[in-house]
Each structure stands twice: as C-alpha cells, then as structure tokens.
Amino acid sequence: MVAVDSQGPQDSAVRMFRRERSIPLRGSAAALCNNLSVLQLPSRNLTHFGVVHGPSAQLVSAAPEGVPLAQRQLHAKEGAGVSPPLITQVHWCVLPFRVLLVLTSHRGIQMYESDGSVMVYWHALDSGDASPVQAVFARGIAASGHFICVGTWSGRILVFDIPAKGPNIVLSEELAGHQTPVTDIATEPAQGQDCVADMVTADDSGLLCVWRSGPEFKLLTRIPGFGVPCPSVQLWHGTVAAGYGDGQVRLYEAGTGTLHVQISAHARAICALDLASEAGKVEHCHGECVPDTQVCGARFCDPSGSSFAVTGYDLAEILRFSSV
C-alpha cells in the first residue's frame, strides 16, 4: 500500500514507516471501500476506530500505544426485507460544536453521539424509483460546517442540518449531480479559509462533483470519470485527490477541475485514500505490502501524518504503522 503522504516544507528526508502493535477486533472487516474511520481525541489521549464487519460495525478506542480500552458494536436498524441489513460505512463527523457518528446501511442512515451510546437520528431510505435489480443503500459520509452530507445509491446527496446539540436534525436539501451510486464524499478540513470549493463527491462512474457549501449547496465543477469507479476521494487546500478502480491516483485543482498529477499507484483497485491535514508536498516516500491481505480501509491517525492505520478483508485486527 502506498500511503499518499505529506512532508513539511523544511524536512526533505524521506520518511519511513514501521509496523506497530495491532488493535484486535471482535469481528473481521468487511470487503467494503473506505472501511476505517478514525477520530483523534488528543486532549484525552485517545483514538477511536470504526470498522464495518457486516450487519454490525465495531467501535474501539485505544490509547497511544495501541492498547485497546473499550469496544462497542452497533447494528444496522432492521426494516422490512429478507436478509439482515448490511452496513456500508461508518464515519465520525466533526462539526463545530459536536461530533456525531454516522452509520449508513441498505436501509438508511443512523446518527449517534460520538461514542455510539445513543442514536439521535434515523433516516429511512426511499427506494421509490429503484428498479428490482438495483441495490438500495446509503454510502459516502462527510461533515461540512454544521451539515452532514450522505450519498445514496441513486446518486443523490442528502444534506442534513445538525443543531449544536439535541436530536432535532433536519434533512435540508437533496443535491443532484450524480447518476450512479455515490462512493465517497470529502470536505475541506481547513474550514473558514479562503476556500470556495469545500466539498467533493464521487461515484461509481468515476465522476467527481465539486461543491460550495452553504444554506444552499452550489455545484461548482464536474470532473468526468473515464470508465472506472472512484471509490475514494479527499479534498485539501483546493486540491482534490481521487483514487480509482484501475489503481490510479489523480490530483486535480478543485476550482477548475484541471489535472495536476497522475500516479499509477497500484496494481489493483484503490479502496481507500487519506491525506494528513497538516501537509506540504506530495511525494512518494513509503511503500508497504501487508502480506496476503486485501486492504479495505486506511486512515492517518494524526494530522501530521506520522502514523496511520489499515484494515483488511477477513482480518480481525487494525494494523498500525508509525514513522521512524
């Protein structure tokens, strides 16, 4: 796995990573894309990890050295249907005044307090105009200001308005821009700076839509795909980083959609991509092969990018790496 990594402008030494102690999971990770969410809580010396197993998701919190402290399992809300509903993604959304944990499934969208203890909101998906052969699900989760945006199977993006506290969450807008199932959503970590474009959404056709958030979201640019899905996307300081089903990573300028960098990064489809928010240049500095494991989730565990975590299909542990 190549970690799209970052380096501070002064430091020109190549960074190397080594394996650290793994965090055990009660259930193995499902073969989904973006199957790892990380919430850093530096003030409490804790890191939360979220991994989807199947019909359940696992939350585990760990101390700095990877010592597991607490575990919790969440389940997809049941509904009418034949098989137990499967979860598609679990993701922490950091909003100005609170942090919510969002779970998307084949039934709908569940939002919890950040430790997963209380469900504060449930939104059932409307499968109204789905054909019998179409899978119905929600997938793609990101926070944008005081909004949480969630993608759906139809390509529509649901925008939820989140109050500073309490369960009074409201679906405020549905964005049209995609015609195929949404795969991932990313928002600008540096909110409040002079960023016009602060959200990017991706879909199964590889199309990227760049948006400006607000009481009404505005579509700024479309970056067309080229026949392969874009399962994972990030946005940072006006640059879109997208990983594609043919192993390519591409960097675009968010405002114009101009392609700046194209990397033939992997020999298989990219399942997860993350950027460390305190970043500088992008340069390949480390390649790691997790033997005999199909990686399905990857996240940096701190803003400087000095450590990251990885999940793999069928693997009941979270692998951790930190720079030497």
């Binding site: 499902a30 073969a31 034949v82 052969v133 101009t258 194209q262 992997h266 020999a267 092969c289 005999d292």
Partner: protein, 379 residues
C-alpha cells in the same frame, strides 16, 4: 448488496462440485458409464430451464446453510449417494475454491471469466449429449445478457456481496497448502507479481501537468511488487481464450484432497455464533428453497440401475472419523422440510418435496428436524 449475485455464486460453486466429483469418481474407479451418467444427471438438473429462471430472478444471497441444501439435492440427482461427512467435505472444498477465485480476480468483472471457465469445463463433461449442451449454451447467453452490460461499479458491488458470503471462512485445504496457494493459518496467498489487471498500468510512475494539460515532469518510484503489463484481455464470447486460469479444473491430477477441521481459525468463532443461533429468517430461506427446488426436476432412479456411494475420503474409516470429529460450529444442518402446522404451506411444500423425495435418503436425526420445525411453528 447486489441482487444479481446468486447465479454467479451458484454456477461457480456447481462447477467446483463437478470437478471434485469427477476426480473422486475416477479415484474410486467407478465404471466410466456410471460416472458419466452421474455427471450428466447432475449437470442436466443444474441447467434445467425452470430452475435457472428462478435463479436469475433478482434476489439477495441466502446463507451458506440454505445454499448447501440445494447442493445436497443436486449431488443426489443421480444414482450416486454421499454420506453427511463426504457432503460436508465436498461443500467445504467448493466454497474455499470459489472464495480463492473471487479474491484473486484481478478486476471485479473477471468473476464472469471465472464463470465462463467453469461452463467451458462443464461443456467438456457433456460433449456427447447435445440436449444438455444446448441448455448450457443457453445459460452462457443468459449470463452475457445479464452481466455483459454491467458497469465496473456494479461488478465491484457483486464482488463485495460474494466476499460477504465467504467472510471468515478459513478451512485449510491440503491441495491449496501443498500448492502454496493457502497459508497454514487458512489465509490465501495474494501474489504481488505477475500481470496487472486489464486496463491498469504497471505501478511506479508519477506524472505532473501544467494548467494547460501539458506534461511537465515524470518521476518513477519503486512500488514493491513485481508487475508486468497484461498481455491481452480474456474473451467474453461463447468460445474464446479466457486468459485467466481461475475457475479451471485444478483437480485433474489424481490427488487426494483433505480438509483440516481441527485447529480451525479462532476468528471463526464469533461469526459462526450468529449462524448457530435460531435464525429468524429461516422462514424466508425455506420459501426460497421451496421455490428454487420446485424448479429442480430430480429424475427418480429408473430401471435396475443400482446406486453406489461415493466417498470424498480415501477410506470408509477416514469418513467415519471425519464425521465424529467435525467441530460443532462447522456443522451444516441439512434442512429437512416436513409437516408444518400451516396447512396450505404444508401442502405446497409437501407436493414439491414429494416430487423431489428420493427413497433411500438417510434421515437426519430427529432432534435437528424438531428444532427447525419448532422454530418454524414459532414464527
């Protein structure tokens, strides 16, 4: 999950089943005409039009247990019998083989090539029977119609659905261990060398462009793997070079195949707890089975043709031993559908099962059947 996954799962598992049965029939020196009859009967039942119609309807995947019942029926579609232990082993081998194939498919779409590899081999088993050959070619056409136009994203969802079905299955197969395809912990070996998927570039290049789209810089980096360009794409036509070897018959050598039951991976326990607990969806699964097997026309053994028992193990003692030592969490309870208190459903099920009933089918132990019935009554 994708509702288009079942035909691919069923056909590929069926293909593996035929490879294994063919190998065991030869290993056990079953006379050629009897062996051919068994394979013909099974293939003809598998590709029965009504059955295939049910299979291709958009639907969710069912549990491993429910699906096993279908293969149990299929394996007994002819004059051949299998004891529980042999049937268990057969199913283990089938599922681990296809799991391996799905995992190693370079592109999600390549699972269709794997399916075509199985169908190509199946055609080889029934070359002298034009009627069955025609049935199989019909299914080729139906597969092309159903899957030919799907996008990469839809195949990605199908792949994820298949991998969910196979999650946490780590049965060690001695043939895989010997060929270094599987590690001793039950995990499959994932090669990091060889051709890249069709449509993917060999990793190792960073290209930078200016705002006018002109390439201004090229940097190479070491990827860590050892990849080469893919020579050509496999054919999706009725006849053609599939290029991919996954899904071809790896049992063509006369090699005994054992599965390791003891020391099963620790990770198996949490997941299978879900399987053992009473399944509130059993009713839906039974309905599915009834529908699916309603389309399955099992020919009753006609004439004086004597049946025979096939053993997946090298000796009868080994088979007995395997039955005794199979870990509880890996046991497949064969669903024995009999009387229920729902009169209408009872009649319908009894009618379907009556048509399928084979006279000397060994009865399952009373307690297992009772548990299932009690569960059904309680729904």
């Amino acid at each position: 999950m994708s509702v288009r996954t079942l035909p691919l799962l069923f056909l590929n598992l069926g293909g593996e089943m035929l490879y294994i049965l063919d190998q065991r029939l030869r290993a056990q020196n079953i006379p050629g005409d009897k062996a051919r009859k068994v394979l013909h009967d099974i293939i003809s039942t598998m590709f029965n039009r009504k059955f295939m119609e049910e299979l291709f309807k958009p639907q969710d995947l069912y549990s491993k247990k429910a699906l096993r019942t279908v293969y149990d029926r299929l394996a007994h579609a002819s004059i051949m019998r299998l004891n529980q232990a042999s049937m268990d082993k057969l199913y283990d081998l089938m599922t681990m083989a296809f799991k391996h194939q799905v995992l190693l498919c370079p592109r999600p779409k390549d699972v269709l090539l794997v399916t075509f590899n199985h169908l190509d081999a199946i055609k080889g088993f029934i070359q002298d029977s034009p009627a069955i050959l025609h049935q199989v070619e019909e299914i080729f056409r139906q597969l092309t119609e159903t899957y030919g136009g799907l996008s990469a994203g839809e195949f990605q969802l199908i792949r994820q659905t298949l991998l969910t079905f196979f999650q946490d299955l780590h049965i060690r197969v001695s043939l895989f261990l010997k060929d270094k395809v599987q590690n001793s912990n039950g995990r499959f070996v994932l090669p990091v060398s060889g051709p890249v998927p069709w449509g993917t570039e060999v990793p190792g290049l960073i290209r930078m462009f200016d705002s006018k789209g002109k390439e201004v810089k090229k940097v190479e980096f070491k990827h860590g793997g050892n990849y080469v360009t893919a020579p050509k794409e496999g054919s999706f036509e009725l006849y053609g070079d599939r290029v991919l070897k996954l899904g071809t018959n790896m049992y063509s050598m006369n090699r005994p195949v054992e599965t390791h039951m003891s020391g099963a991976s620790k990770n198996l326990a949490p997941r299978t707890q879900e399987n053992i607990a009473p399944n509130p969806l059993a009713k839906e699964e039974l309905n599915f089975l009834a529908r699916l097997m309603g389309g399955m026309e099992i020919k009753k053994p006609s004439g004086p043709e004597p049946g025979f028992r096939l053993n997946l193990f090298t000796t009868d003692e080994e088979e007995e031993q395997a039955a005794l030592t199979r870990p509880e969490e890996l046991s497949y309870e064969v669903i024995n559908i009999q009387a229920t208190q729902d009169q209408q459903r009872n009649e319908e099920l009894a009618r379907i099962m009556g048509e399928l009933e084979v006279t000397d089918q060994p009865r399952q132990s009373a307690s297992k059947g009772d548990d299932l019935l009690a569960m059904m009554d309680g729904l």
